[in-house]
């Protein structure tokens, strides 16, 4: 078990390292000159060259890579080309916002998905089960930004229940909840629909497992059997799916953050790309990638906790 964790961590680190190479060299081919982008329409060539030197973007790529990658993992992500302030605090702030938003989204998604998927599976060939499936099917088809726009239109502009956008930190309490409600809902609705379908599939799969029949043969009622034996088994594939969904949520957040003017990784990324704030883009992309890999790692480590079959690797 311990060996497995060490091994999995080793693979994780290796993966992160390769990913950092990919991120760096992928972005190094970006056209558009960060220095020129900073200086605006009427800067002279000399001014631009000077800024290039100041930013260090005229040095050989390997040197830049080493500096960036060592910095990234020591919490010094460099100085933003655009804001001229250290990247790390900005990225970390944005990361915090995005994580909260994604967490909210996952919460909403789970709250929607688990009951909906469960009911759709249990009532499979009955009218209400079909209705639940249809609802989730429709939910998937709506682009999440459209859901966001509609939520703003209804709950913010027309009903004035929630602000139309912006952000408040968790410390702000009720204000935080008011601000996160709509974006988390927009993010969670669509992903909840997707998750509901996976839940339905997983529960259906589990319901036809032999051990469910064994449970019934012991004298358990179907509902009890599903609760006592089914759900835990259905969790195994669902956890994996949730980790994949996590990547989708993070990327869905890019769009939702734009719609709701939330200062998360996504809106920062879009702006940083626009500003050719290369170092910012790199750090954000790397953050997203590491996050996705981290969640995969967590899920890999979590699975054996739930599923004893995976524990006997040694």
């Amino acid at each position: 078990m311990a060996l497995m964790i060490v091994r999995r961590l080793g693979v994780f680190l290796l993966t992160v390292w390769v990913a950092s190479l990919v991120v760096f060299f992928l972005l190094s081919v970006l056209p558009g000159d960060p220095a020129r982008a900073q200086l605006g329409l009427d800067a002279t060539e000399d001014q631009v060259q000077a800024l290039r030197e100041q930013l260090g973007v005229d040095r050989p790529l390997p040197v830049q890579y080493m500096e960036w990658v060592t910095g990234f993992f020591t919490g010094d992500m460099g100085i933003s080309y655009a804001s001229r302030a250290p990247v790390a605090p900005q990225v970390l702030d944005a990361l915090q916002v995005s994580l909260l938003l994604v967490a909210g989204g996952i919460l909403v998604a789970l709250v929607i998905a688990l009951p909906l998927g469960l009911l759709a599976a249990v009532r499979q060939n009955k009218p209400d089960g079909t209705l639940f499936s249809a609802v989730s099917q429709l939910g998937i088809s709506v682009p999440n930004f459209l859901a966001g726009l509609l939520l703003i239109g209804v709950f913010a502009v027309t009903l004035s229940w929630f602000p139309s956008g912006g952000w408040a930190p968790p410390a702000a309490g009720a204000d935080f909840l008011r601000h996160i409600a709509l974006p988390a809902l927009a993010l969670g609705l669509v992903n909840g629909a997707i998750l509901a379908r996976y839940t339905r599939a997983a529960v259906l799969e589990v319901m036809r497992e032999d051990f469910m029949r064994t449970a019934r043969a012991k004298g358990m009622k179907p509902g009890t059997a599903l609760l006592r034996h089914g759900l835990r088994n259905a969790m195994v594939p669902l956890i994996t799916v949730t980790s994949i969904e996590f990547a989708n949520l993070i990327i869905g957040a890019v769009v939702i953050e734009t719609v709701f003017v939330v200062p998360g990784l996504g809106s920062n990324l879009v702006r940083a790309v626009g500003n050719r704030d290369l170092i910012m883009v790199q750090s954000i992309v790397m953050c997203v990638v590491v996050l996705v890999l981290l969640v995969n790692l967590l899920v890999d480590l979590l699975r054996p906790v739930i599923d004893p079959r995976l524990r006997s690797a040694t």
Binding site: D210, F211, R213, G219, R232, I306, R309
Partner: protein
């Protein structure tokens, strides 16, 4: 004896299609009934309908009654209409008055729950009823104690430890014992067992069966036992029901049915199951030939060798009968002058030490040496996982050995590039166990059969395919069809046709008949026999079924845990085994009780 269960006019249908057609039967208290029939005849569905566990889309009509017990006043119970019982009534019966052991022990237990908890669950579920039926000597036993007792009673070693492990940490046989413990936990009046041992090794099968009979006996339960294996039924049951195509075609006490079968199908089943041969032709009896041969008194398979040896007068001198030595050193078995197949010190291990020493090494083969002479039929038997398939993959150069060598016609084939093995692909072919799995469902029969002919033209292929279809007894029209349009036996014929299309010298058969119904099995074995003669083939034949090997082969090698432990002429090996494992194996074969055979 009082009646426990009555089924009258029981119909089971899927949608509009009827699967079980109005069957009637009854089970008495303490009676042990065997339910036999070919695959798909509706045995499992009948059983599930008793438990009220028919799947979605299936429905049962007629009447099914579980009779109440009036013998002792404190455990008195009422009659229960099993077809119309509601979920509440049913759930108090299942696992309590009636319980069931399923076919597949690997998946019948919840993989995420400790074994002990799963056993405890069934006790807790029926606790109130349970407290009454607890053995008088331990009235205050806790659930935990009871679980350990149960595990102990089904002979699971170290019950305390076993209760804490997860199902995947147990072997199949152990899991099936846990299932049995669960089923017997509340001393059921009726135990339903649906092929509870087919997934297990022969030696383990034997143990589990004995255990089951014992438990049922002790608890005084009735038993409804489903199986394909007539030998098993004759050992365990009092009475037998024979089903075919959703109907009961014959029923009666074992002695009567097995000695004086009335229905032709029963007769065929008995014949095929014992691999009896037609006295005059030396061919196995099949359901179609059994009636014709009924007059010619059938003789058991044990005679086979004497019959075939006359046909093979020119075969090499009888091989030596050797076993592995006490110290574990193995001789070269079946050594021959100029062998077609020469295997020396072959080992194969799977898995690597791996990153951080994680990998696990499985030694599938641990030093195997033997020869096969031209024209010999070389049989290999052994339990599941002993390395039979691994050995065959090495013989056919589909895998690389870890060490050792395989020579075919004096040419080394291990470690060669595929391009230099073309001659081998022409002269050696293989037939696999699963007739469905070995045919690509998306290819037509012509394409399948002519797959080994890689540089023949379209017309040539068609010609050869038709030729072979005829030889294996399939109509010409089969050529353009797809595998799913054939039955299992027909598919195996197609697989055999493919193996013969290159006119090979050596045929390797990996469990070629194991997946077939007993009745079809005889037909395919006959076909193989004929073809081996006609093509003058050298054959290596693998099976876990000792009877089949004994019937089909001259030489038998017994494998255990990656080694050949004994090898020699078939009769000699089975009749006078030299190695204890062989003896164990031979003893485990369920035979018809002497009085019925």
């Amino acid at each position: 004896m009082s009646r426990l269960l009555t089924a009258e006019n029981l119909d089971i249908s899927a949608g509009s299609g009827r699967i079980v057609h109005g069957i009637d039967f009854a089970i008495d208290r303490g009676e042990r009934v065997g339910l036999i029939g070919e695959s798909g005849s509706g045995k499992s569905l009948t059983c599930l309908s008793l438990m009220g566990l028919l799947g979605d889309g299936l429905s049962a009509t007629g009447s099914l009654t579980l009779h109440g017990d009036t013998s002792s006043p404190e455990t008195a119970s009422d009659d229960l209409d099993l077809l119309n019982a509601d979920e509440n009534a049913f759930s108090s019966v299942r696992g309590n008055r009636m319980s069931m052991v399923f076919q597949e022990p690997m998946t019948a237990l919840n993989p995420l729950m400790r074994v002990g908890d799963q056993v405890a669950e069934v006790i807790k579920l029926h606790r109130r009823a349970q407290s009454a039926s607890l053995p008088a000597d331990q009235p205050n036993a806790t659930v935990e104690d009871r679980v350990l007792d149960l595990l102990d009673s089904v002979r699971i070693p170290e019950p305390a430890r076993a209760a804490r492990v997860y199902p995947h940490q147990m072997s199949g046989g152990q899991r099936q014992r846990v299932m049995l413990a669960m089923a017997m936990a509340n001393g059921p009046e009726l135990l339903l067992a649906d092929e509870p041992t087919t997934a297990l090794d022969v030696t383990v099968q034997k143990q589990v069966l004995t255990l089951m009979a014992e438990q049922v006996e002790r608890a005084g339960s009735s038993l409804l036992f489903i199986t394909h294996d007539l030998g098993v039924v004759s050992e365990v049951c009092d009475r037998v029901i024979i089903m075919r195509h959703g109907r009961i075609i014959e029923t009666g006490p074992i002695d009567q049915v097995f000695t004086r079968p009335e229905h032709p199908y029963t007769r065929a089943l008995l014949a095929a199951s014992a691999l009896r041969t037609d006295h005059s032709s030396g061919r196995l009896l099949t359901p179609d030939t059994v009636d014709a041969a009924a007059q010619n008194q059938h003789r058991p398979a044990e005679d086979r060798l004497s019959i075939s040896s006359s046909a093979e007068a020119g075969s090499p001198a009888a091989a030596a009968h050797l076993a592995i030595a006490e110290d574990g050193s193995a001789p070269v078995f079946n050594q021959a002058e100029s062998p077609v197949l020469e295997v020396r010190d072959l080992t194969r291990s799977y898995g690597k030490a791996g990153f951080l020493g994680r990998g696990r090494v499985v030694e599938a083969l641990r030093g195997v040496s033997f020869d096969v002479a031209a024209g010999q039929r070389f049989g290999i038997v052994g339990e599941s996982g002993c390395g039979k398939s691994t050995l065959l993959r090495l013989l056919t150069a589909l895998d690389e050995p870890s060490s050792g060598s395989v020579r075919v016609n004096d040419q080394a084939i291990s470690g060669q590039r595929e391009r230099r093995l073309r001659w081998l692909r022409q002269s050696m072919q293989i037939v696999f166990q699963d007739p469905m799995g070995s045919l690509d469902p998306r290819m037509t029969v012509v394409d399948i059969i002519t797959e080994p002919l890689w540089n023949a033209g379209r017309a040539e292929r068609l010609r050869r395919a038709k030729e072979l279809l005829e030889q294996v007894g399939l109509p010409q029209g089969a050529a353009e069809k797809y595998p799913h349009e054939f039955s299992g036996g027909q598919r195996q014929r197609i697989a055999i046709a493919r193996a013969l299309v290159t006119r090979p010298k050596i045929l390797i058969a990996d469990e070629a008949v194991s997946a077939l119904d007993v009745s079809v099995r005889a037909q395919v074995l006959n076909l193989l026999d004929d073809l081996v003669d006609e093509y003058d083939l050298t054959m290596v034949f693998v099976s876990h079924d000792l009877k089949v090997v004994r019937h089909s082969c001259d030489i038998v090698a017994v494998m255990n845990a990656g080694r050949i432990v004994e090898c020699g002429p078939a009769d000699a090996v089975f009749d006078t085994p030299k190695h204890p494992y062989t003896a164990e194996l031979a003893a485990a074969i369920p035979r018809m009780k002497d009085n019925v055979a």
